[in-house]
């Protein structure tokens, strides 16, 4: 009987133009989204290529210049001399730290348009290293991308609701509900069979379209972890879909008219997918306002002035703090570069409390988000999909800390040479520390994604429970 109802539901869906319209629409938006994602990924890949090429070309030129000078040539100027380790660390050999694209990157743009996926590492302070941005029209950043994750998080629930808003109310309004229930089947079994028929159709369709989108977006399914990530991507989508199916069933279980159901579901979608996330963002920003960066710049300027006034007195304290950087023998406190880095370090130390306040406020905001996100399956799904595509906040945060570590390494490599006034040579160019990204580990990502999926599933189950109990009081007539 269950299967017969399902088969009948499929016939109904197939005969109804809505399903075909929805299928064509969903296929069109998925492929459009896939092509957008493919374009963005290719662009980023090309940018990384440009940076790598620029860096190796620069290193080659520096090597040639060093060999020319070693052969008796003179440097172009005092400020353009690759024998000076400070200039090498600042510009000649400054290396890029790149965040590699994950295999599913074309499916979610996530934070990758806003947060840098590369930093140029010099001997500058950390604040300076991290302040750079990619060029982008701010209006583009504001609007966000039409990517596959957008289709999944926002449009796909609407497809589910458009097909299911009159699951029972439609039957009731056309008079078939009472007739059907005259057969040996209970209302809850009937409703279950109908919703199951929808689940099979929509998830089957989505699985096929998602695979097509991944292929169209140029995802290399042979890459390590790509296929399992895509499977998880679909898994999150499926669980997220179950939530909306359950919601449609629950709303139908109250026995209202189709138009009322449609309005109620639209309101629920609006609340869960748009209002709660943006209200949470606003609450977080109000509870933990991040001070304007303007304040930070001022603090750096003031600290910088005071530190340069103290100048040479800073050396003693500096080497007490950084014994590993101290060269053997005397340091020339009059040396421009030695002085500069010591002053900069003092500035970083002075503004550390302010930097800490910034980071504490950002962490505070993020903690509000972490708590409130359980209110919205859309937020959970979006974060999980970004995590699987390697474009989530957490991965960029991890990248930043990796870059910070590398920047320290870079400084530790060059500063003793600066203080010692070592003459930099072509051989030394081959011994530079290079950046390679160590990923945060599959376990961390699986934990976050699994946790989010579980929470969505749990809310779906709760809705189903509520729907079952409401169905017992379903008003068959009136």
């Amino acid at each position: 009987m269950l299967f017969r109802v399902m088969r009948n539901e499929w016939r109904g869906l197939a005969a109804d133009r809505t399903l075909w319209a929805v299928t064509i629409l969903l296929a069109a938006v998925m492929l459009f989204a896939a092509s957008n994602g493919a374009r963005w990924s290719a662009l980023q890949q090309a940018r990384h290529g440009e940076l790598v090429a620029e860096e190796s070309e620069r290193l080659e030129e520096t090597r040639a210049e060093l060999l020319r000078i070693a052969g008796g040539g003179s440097p172009r100027s005092r400020f353009n001399d690759p024998r000076n380790p400070a200039q090498v660390g600042q510009s000649f050999a400054a290396g890029y730290a790149l965040l590699p694209l994950a295999p599913l990157a074309p499916l979610s743009v996530g934070q990758s348009d806003l947060l840098p996926a590369h930093y140029k590492i010099t001997l500058e302070s950390r604040e300076a290293l991290f302040s750079g941005d990619e060029l982008e029209n701010p209006t583009n950043l504001l609007a966000g991308s039409f990517d596959v994750a957008f289709v999944v998080v926002f449009l796909y629930p609407l497809v589910i609701l458009a097909l299911g808003y009159n699951l029972l109310s439609g039957e009731k309004e056309s008079g078939t509900l009472v007739l059907t229930l005259a057969q040996p089947i209970s209302l809850s079994r009937f409703a279950a069979a109908k919703i199951l028929a929808h689940v099979v159709v929509v998830l089957g369709l989505t699985a096929a379209l998602m695979l097509a989108a991944a292929v169209a977006a140029g995802v290399d399914l042979g890459a390590p972890g790509a296929f399992s990530s895509l499977a998880s991507y679909f898994g999150v989508t499926a669980v997220y879909g179950l939530f909306w199916f359950s919601l449609a069933l629950l709303v139908n279980a109250f026995g209202r008219a189709s138009a009322t159901n449609a309005a109620t579901l639209a309101g629920a979608w609006l609340t869960l997918a748009l209002i709660i996330p943006s209200a949470t963002a606003l609450i977080a920003a109000t509870l933990y306002p991040v001070p304007s960066r303007v304040e930070m710049i001022q603090a750096v300027r003031v600290a910088g002035r005071e530190a340069s006034e103290r100048g040479s007195q800073l050396f003693g304290a500096y080497f007490a703090d950084h014994p590993e950087l101290a060269p053997e023998g005397e340091v020339d406190p009059g040396d421009y570069y030695s002085r500069r880095f010591v002053v900069e370090d003092e500035v970083s130390k002075q503004i550390a409390p302010l930097t800490e306040r910034f980071e504490a406020q950002i962490r505070g905001q993020q903690s509000v988000v972490e708590k409130f996100r359980y209110l919205s399956p859309a937020v959970l799904a979006q974060q999980a999909l970004n995590d699987l595509s390697g474009t989530g906040y957490a991965r960029f945060d991890h990248f930043r800390s990796e870059v910070g570590r590398y920047a320290d390494e870079w400084k530790a490599h060059f500063l003793p040479q600066v203080f010692r006034k070592t003459v930099f040579t072509a051989e030394a160019l081959g011994e530079l520390p290079r950046f390679s990204y160590r990923s945060e580990g599959a376990g961390a990502i699986a934990g976050r994604v699994g946790g989010a999926a579980l929470m969505i599933l749990l809310s779906a189950v709760l809705l189903l429970g509520a729907a079952t109990s409401a169905l017992r009081r379903y008003p068959l007539t009136g």
Partner: protein, 470 residues
């Protein structure tokens, strides 16, 4: 008759629980967004004012050094936030807040506030503007989808028409009823917003009042378009259910899909260069020069002019400091390339924005969003206006320092020192905000789309009402 219909519609809506709940939520969100937007805006403005004053102090207290060193020390310019930005924050979270002005270089703006925000910002910011742009249309749909279709289903439409009520009176009455219900929500919000604004616009140099009025007009047109479309669909739809689902689909297209789709298309047609490409192209062209005239040639030509002007044949014989003069020539040479490349980049961004405006003919949200950001002073064009003024100021400041060296350093080169007295005389950056007409001038397509939509939708509603089937 029209008024009686309108009154009946309004009464029905205000008694309806749906309207009370949905309207209450929208009003609450609108007031919250206005209030929090206002307080955040006040904080940002205060921080900005402190910073501007402090920056000048820092500049003046930089100590004794050569004017050229001072030009390397530079100053920071801080982008002010427009007075109406509390209503529509527009792109403010995504534009850098400050730029470092130093000699030789036009720098990029730093510190996009969004990078310091939380991840949920990307779901869209809750501002008064987004409530009006996204939620109000939905409320209109909810209020009016059953205007005709519902009455047809319940049979009252047949009765009313049989009484000889003119179909078009019915349409106008229903439109007025919806408008009245909306006014119940909008009037308190508008009064509050206006009060906040009057408090803010003590001086009206950037045309605050004009901008506010134009904003109100833009939103009236936008919401009017939704009233028209909703009534037209309700009059034509076979059932209330069909009208609602169709209208919700329309809303999803206009408010959700179109802005993102337009952005991806804009980026595909008018690609943004990478920072690396931009910097490399700038450096390459600066190296190669314009029409084969590189820096050496440029300097040589200017040097000959200079020598001729003073009637000497060697720079040693000049009564001015040649080094200071040459610094300024190198600025002039470099500025040509900054002008060229930055305007190319920014024109590209404006082409993207203009493309979005044109999509406004298909999806009015894009038109109202563009116009609203522009009138609130938080769009890219206003950012560019500021950035260009900051750049002009950079050039004035650097020229002031170079010219001091040229005129007063004599034969001394780097040993020439200046102090607080000169730093104090240096030009001050006074930002001149553009007026409302300037803001409007870049929005012709958005304005056209925004006028066309309500006219077209009223026409459709009118036509549908005339052929109303009982």
């Amino acid at each position: 008759m029209v008024m009686r219909i309108a009154r009946k519609e309004l009464l029905e809506m205000t008694r309806d629980g749906r309207f009370r709940v949905a309207g209450g939520v929208v009003l609450l969100l609108l007031l919250t967004a206005l209030g929090l937007g206002w307080s955040r805006h006040a904080d940002v403005t205060a921080a900005h004012e402190t910073a501007v004053a402090q920056e000048r102090e820092i500049w003046e207290a930089q100590g004794e050094k050569s004017p050229h060193s001072a030009s390397h020390y530079g100053v920071y310019a801080f982008k002010p936030t427009g007075r109406l930005a509390f209503f529509d924050t527009g792109t403010e979270a995504y534009t850098g807040v400050t730029v470092w002005l130093e000699s030789h270089k036009q720098n990029q703006f730093l510190y996009r506030p969004a990078r310091d925000g939380n991840t949920l910002q990307r779901f869209g910011e809750l501002t008064a503007a987004t409530v009006l742009q996204l939620l109000m249309p939905l409320l209109i749909i909810l209020l009016a989808f059953s205007a005709f279709a519902g009455e047809r289903e319940s049979g009252t439409l047949r009765q009313v028409l049989s009484l000889g009520v003119r179909r078009r009176d019915l349409a106008i009455g229903k439109a007025l009823g919806v408008a009245g219900a909306l006014a119940l929500l909008l009037v308190p919000a508008v009064l509050l917003g206006a009060a906040a604004l009057t408090a803010a616009t003590a001086d009206s140099e950037s045309g605050g009042l004009m901008r506010t009025l134009l904003l109100a007009g833009a939103y009236l047109l936008y919401l009017g378009a939704f009233v028209g479309v909703t009534l037209a669909v309700s009059a034509r739809a076979p059932s209330a259910r069909f009208a609602l689902v169709g209208l919700l689909g329309f809303w999803v297209f206009v408010c959700l899909a179109a802005p993102r789709a337009a952005t991806d298309l804009a980026k595909a047609y008018y690609p943004t260069p990478s920072a690396q490409e931009f910097a490399a192209a700038l450096a390459d062209e600066k190296e190669a020069g314009i029409d084969g005239v590189d820096y050496e040639d440029f300097l040589e030509a200017r040097k000959q002019e200079l020598l001729a002007e003073y009637g000497v044949d060697d720079v040693e014989a000049l009564p001015i400091n040649y080094g200071g003069w040459r610094f300024e020539v190198s600025e002039e040479y470099g500025n040509q390339f900054f002008d060229l490349h930055y305007s190319r980049l920014w024109d590209q961004f404006e082409a993207q924005d203009r493309f979005r405006q044109r999509v406004g003919f298909a999806a009015p949200l894009l038109a109202v969003r563009s116009l609203s950001m522009s009138l609130a002073g938080s769009d890219f064009a206003h950012f560019r206006w500021f950035a260009e003024q900051a750049e002009q100021y950079r050039r004035r400041l650097v020229a002031f320092l170079n010219n001091d060296m040229r005129d007063n350093a004599g034969a001394a080169a780097f040993s020439y020192r200046q102090d607080r007295r000169l730093w104090r005389q240096a030009p001050v950056f006074a930002y001149d905000a553009p007026d409302a007409l300037w803001a409007l001038s870049g929005q012709s397509e958005a304005v056209a789309a925004l006028v066309l939509w309500p006219v077209l939708s009223a026409f459709l509603a009118w036509g549908a009402a005339a052929r109303l089937k009982p």
